[in-house]
């Protein structure tokens, strides 16, 4: 059952990820990316990371990708400016590099065979409570730093988006 879900969702993620990079239409790419993210979220769920799965959908699909769509629509690139995928020399090198990387990594990691469900996880594994305890306990300082990072990002985005004061 789990294996079926795994194959389904990982296939979904990989397929839609391929769509992301091969769709001409930026908007379609974005939608495909949403599907990828959703699939990855489901994989998170399979890995008992429920909180992160929810956050994945909430943050990525809910906020990040909406921003992408927003920008795409504002630029109105979807139709008028379909950038052609010219497989130039650089592109070919890029593809070769990527494929090499994939082969390298996959052949390397195929060998890992630790069974995932060997450990008896507690009831709280992956819940909001356990993640929260870590975030507000051991990782409090990185957490606060992240909030500063976000603040900086907000200010930066506003500065970039603001109309220049004549």
């Amino acid at each position: 059952m789990q294996l079926a879900f795994f194959y389904f969702f990982s296939g979904l993620s990989i397929l839609s990820a391929l769509f992301v990079i091969f769709f001409r239409n930026t908007l379609s790419a974005a939608i495909a990316l949403v599907v990828t993210l959703f699939g990855v979220a489901c994989l998170f769920g399979l890995l008992e990371a429920h909180f992160l799965a929810a956050m994945q959908v909430l943050v990525y699909a809910g906020a990040v990708m909406v921003l992408f769509l927003f920008v795409i629509m504002l630029m109105n690139l979807g139709r008028e400016e379909l950038l052609k995928i010219k497989l130039a020399f650089l592109g070919i090198i890029g593809v070769i590099t990527g494929v090499c990387l994939a082969i390298l990594l996959v052949t390397r990691f195929m060998g890992l065979s630790a069974p995932l469900l060997s450990l008896d996880l507690g009831v709280e594994y992956g819940t909001v409570k356990s993640v929260g305890k870590l975030l507000f306990g051991e990782y409090l300082i990185p957490f606060e730093l992240t909030s500063i990072l976000l603040l900086v990002a907000i200010i930066g985005a506003i500065t970039l988006a603001r109309k220049p004061q004549s």
Partner: protein, 424 residues
């Protein structure tokens, strides 16, 4: 995403829940449409739908929904020029689908326990709880955006952009305002929050955290694109917003999606702030213990009310008022009501139910809680409709500045106040 539930339920029951609970929600939609029509009519001092009938039965205009369905099903499937067909079709379905699957975590009643057998009245009791709700609700933006974009229409594009920015903006307030509930109850699970509120209405979050309630309510209005935040479809500016190009069943899906959104929102409001399925002053255990008494009382009241209703309806019979089948509507409805009333009265007043099998009291309690929950939901739905026909619409900049400069600071203040209260 997947139930981390220690209770193992039979597969069939899960399937049944997966099918039934959305069906219940879907069945509320016609009711809501009818309510919208009637309430708006009475608010505007008119009668509302009163023509459509089946063999003279109008059910106070409820039958008009059937006419709507027929109309929408038979209309032309229309695609505007230059529209992206795939997204154009996908969008309404996405909206509708997402609101329907959101209902998966809504608990309609307390966990049913009959001996060894247990069953929860929600599709999935996820440990991420309300976060699931938010994740799904945030996906609803896609439908609106895609619809607006794929229509190849400036109005719909603007509507879509407005809808998405508005939904993103108010989602923050929404999340922040219920963080306080999580803090108080120590859990993000809807069930836990409902249990925490207890059966005493004084401990319901609406009373305990009025500011959070108001903020969440307002944010909900914005999230569902309802008046006074219905700018994405503001007809005076954008004709009909993101669904201006839609017709037939695709439009119907948007339409139903909107009402499904209202129902989901009302359910969440009811669950989070109004005690959910908690019957006022009666805990689950009290209901189970006194099941016989309550059943008899309800039976007697039902019998009497049914007789009275039948009589009231039959008295109104005036042959020749409409000069068609509608004249006999009161009789068609009144006579069965009278008959059922007489039968029920006879049964309960003479005999009553005093001997019940073991499974009956819990089922009775669950039913009562279910009815209570639906009542609360409908109450909120009514509130939605009431507001829609009462308040004027915001301007777009007002909406945004209200959201970012009013709501978010207010929810932060609320968060601070509640934290302070919990600390000291």
């Amino acid at each position: 995403m997947f139930p981390n539930n220690p209770l193992l339920e039979p597969f069939l029951i899960i399937i049944a829940k997966v099918i039934l609970i959305p069906v219940i929600v879907l069945n509320l939609i016609p009711l809501l449409i009818w309510m919208e029509r009637k309430v708006s009519a009475y608010i505007q001092d008119r009668r509302g739908p009163n023509r459509a009938n089946i063999l003279g039965v109008r059910l106070a205009g409820m039958i008009l929904n059937f006419a709507d369905v027929v109309k929408l099903l038979t209309k032309e499937e229309f695609f505007p020029t230059g529209a992206n067909r795939f997204y154009f079709v996908l969008a309404p379905g996405l909206v509708f689908f997402i609101y329907v699957i959101t209902t998966a975590i809504i608990p309609f009643a307390d966990v049913l326990k009959i001996g060894e057998f247990t069953m929860s009245f929600q599709v999935a009791d996820l440990n991420v709880g309300v976060l699931y709700l938010f994740s799904m609700a945030s996906l609803a933006v896609y439908g609106v955006m895609l619809a607006g974009w794929s229509s190849n229409n400036k109005y719909s594009l603007l509507g879509g952009l407005r809808a998405s920015s508005q939904m993103i903006s108010y989602e923050i307030t929404m999340g922040l305002s219920i963080v306080t509930l999580f803090m108080m109850s120590g859990s993000v699970s809807l069930n836990d929050i409902i249990h925490y509120q207890s059966e005493n209405p004084l401990y319901w979050n609406m009373i305990q955290q009025p500011l959070a309630f108001i903020l969440f309510l307002i944010a909900t209005f914005a999230e569902t694109n309802r008046n006074p935040f219905d700018l994405p479809e503001g007809e005076s500016e954008l004709v009909a917003g993101y669904h201006v190009e839609y017709s037939s069943m695709k439009f119907a899906l948007f339409f139903m999606g909107e009402y499904a959104a209202i129902i989901v929102a009302s359910s969440v409001l009811a669950a989070l702030f109004l005690g959910g399925w908690q019957v006022p002053f009666l805990s689950t255990q009290a209901l189970i213990d006194n099941a016989v008494f309550f059943l008899n009382v309800i039976g007697k009241v039902f019998g009497v009310v049914s007789i009275l209703l039948g009589l009231v309806l039959m008295v109104q019979f005036r042959p020749g008022r409409y000069k068609d089948a509608r004249d006999f509507e009161v009789l068609i409805l009144g006579i069965p009501a009278l008959a059922v009333g007489i039968f029920a009265s006879y049964f309960f007043f003479t005999q009553g139910i005093y001997d019940m099998p073991d499974w009956a009291p819990p089922v009775f309690a669950a039913s009562v809680q279910f009815v209570t929950f639906i009542t609360k939901v409908i109450l909120f739905c009514f509130f939605f409709i009431w507001v829609r026909w009462t308040l004027p619409r915001f301007r777009y900049d007002q909406l945004m500045s209200f959201g970012w400069k009013g709501m978010i600071p207010a929810s932060l203040v609320n968060l601070f106040l509640v934290s302070a209260r919990m600390m000291f």
